[in-house]
């Protein structure tokens, strides 16, 4: 009987019976966190780019300026609402609200991806805006001076640097999402936390199950942050560079021409 076992025996027993469920739950958690962070980043970049479009009083049409105003207002409201309310409430609000008010029956999966993505997007919008603004204005002027338009300057010069600047914040969001998907159990998503609640409830082993789940969450977040650190190092490139032999350049050019 489970009540006769000691702590470690109970953990082993739970793992034997429910190990696969925990892993599956962890997989669900990771999937939602990674996909939603990626989608959230896309939303965030789109929002950040719109927020930083310069307005040229002389050259831009009245229509463009009004459109931009309205877009920005909508974005401001979006950011305030989703940063200013708990995700657990957002999940319930969207999952049940859409079906009652708009007659849209979202599957719980769709609802899960939607809530976490939109929530992350709201945080990323501000990060991206900050990331764009923090790029040295000289970079934009350098791009303009060789004839780039705003879109070219953004895609080739500013956004790659902004992305590098906010990479730590993207990683932070991913780690937060790995942990915070636990609130999705309110809409019956079988993530790691949901598995924990079921197992603990069935066997009355709250402490043991929580220990297992703690370790799994910790492993996921630590591995994630290490991987992101590696990505940062890789993006920064090496501290050295090879000198290129000028004779060699001539030869390379010669080869290409023939």
């Amino acid at each position: 009987m489970i009540s006769d076992m000691n702590f470690f025996e109970r953990i082993l027993y739970i793992l034997e019976r429910y190990g696969a469920s925990y892993l599956k739950g962890a997989g669900t958690t990771l999937l939602i966190a990674i996909v939603s962070t990626a989608v959230g980043c896309i939303i965030g970049f789109a929002a950040g780019v719109v927020q930083t479009i310069p307005v040229d009083q002389k050259r831009d049409s009245f229509f463009k300026r009004i459109l931009l105003r309205i877009l920005r207002l909508i974005l401001d409201i979006y950011v305030e609402v989703f940063r200013g309310t708990p995700m657990i409430v957002q999940a319930v609000f969207i999952y049940y609200g859409l079906s009652q008010m708009c007659n849209i029956q979202l599957g719980m999966w769709q609802a899960a991806f939607l809530v976490v993505s939109v929530n992350t997007g709201a945080y990323m919008a501000e990060s991206v805006r900050g990331g764009i603004i923090s790029v040295d204005p000289g970079q934009m002027e350098g791009a303009k001076a060789i004839g780039m338009n705003h879109v070219q300057a953004m895609t080739c010069v500013i956004l790659p640097q902004a992305f590098r600047n906010i990479l730590p914040q993207i990683g932070n969001n991913l780690i937060i999402n790995i942990k915070d998907t636990s609130v999705l159990s309110v809409i019956s998503i079988v993530d790691l936390f949901f598995v924990h609640k079921s197992v603990a409830g069935a066997l009355y082993t709250y402490f043991e199950s929580a220990t297992i789940v703690m370790l799994i969450y910790l492993t996921m977040t630590v591995v994630t942050s290490r991987l992101l650190r590696l990505l940062e190092v890789k993006l920064d490139g090496s501290d050295n560079y090879e000198m290129t032999d000028t004779m060699d350049i001539g030869n390379q050019l010669g080869k290409k021409r023939s």
Partner: protein
């Protein structure tokens, strides 16, 4: 010869602060013009207006007769023809030296990769930076960065190049290598408008010198005229400060 640029009654204020107060002059093909003047006299602002990084408050900037301050003008296309080299280099930090010199040719001029690379290498060779094509800007010295910035501007094959104090951010021992490159360009006939505090360079290399004071052109002439026998009291006073040191 035809005017490339004609500046007519250019004025620029920031709020109530009139920085440029009625500037007029012309630039012809092959001109090398040095613009000198005290700090705050509006030299940078004038170059930035010419390159449309700053909106003129009034006046005209005619490029081959077309007023590029008009609302309908394609500014990026104009900037492709009028390059600019900045005091702080402004090299793209996310690209290496070669990419810095290629990106404009590829994206703006829509050149093929091979052609862009050849041209980039040609101009990097000219400024003596070809061996460094794989280096990132942060790995270079100031003088090296500025030479790359000049190559990047040249790779767009502009009709005229604007320099805003290209050597002011450099350690003294690096000033020479940049000025040498600029002198070479002048000899090859490139049209240049150079804001500088390097009086010896202005005197030897330029065809004309413009002395600016308080937002107006106080004096304009050949280097011999402006440096040798300045007409204005302000010019004399400004130049005497340089002679002392």
């Amino acid at each position: 010869m035809e005017n490339i640029l004609e500046i007519r009654n250019l004025k620029k204020s920031f709020g109530s602060h009139g920085v440029l107060r009625d500037i007029s002059f012309t630039v012809k093909a092959g001109d090398v013009i040095s613009i000198i003047g005290a700090s705050g006299s509006g030299k940078s602002t004038m170059l930035r207006c010419i390159n449309q990084l700053e909106d003129a408050t009034s006046g005209q900037i005619l490029y081959h007769g077309e007023d590029i301050t008009a609302p309908k003008v394609d500014v990026p296309a104009y900037r492709k023809k009028v390059g600019m080299v900045f005091q702080n280099f402004n090299l793209f930090e996310n690209m290496n030296v070669l990419e810095n010199c290629m990106v404009g040719q590829r994206k703006v001029a829509r050149k093929s990769k091979e052609e862009a690379e050849q041209k980039a290498l040609f101009y990097l060779e000219k400024v003596g930076m070809a061996p460094y094509i794989k280096a990132k800007p942060r790995q270079l010295s100031g003088g090296q960065k500025q030479r790359v910035a000049i190559a990047r501007a040249l790779a767009m094959e502009p009709e005229i190049l604007l320099f805003d104090e290209p050597t002011s951010a450099l350690d003294p021992q690096m000033v020479g290598e940049v000025l040498q490159v600029m002198e070479k360009l002048a000899q090859e006939g490139l049209t240049m408008l150079i804001v500088t505090h390097e009086m010896a360079f202005a005197r030897e290399v330029s065809k004309r010198v413009i002395f600016m004071a308080d937002g107006v052109i106080e004096e304009e002439g050949t280097p011999e005229e402006v440096f040798g026998s300045p007409r204005s009291e302000k010019t004399r006073e400004f130049l005497s400060r340089f002679r002392k040191c």
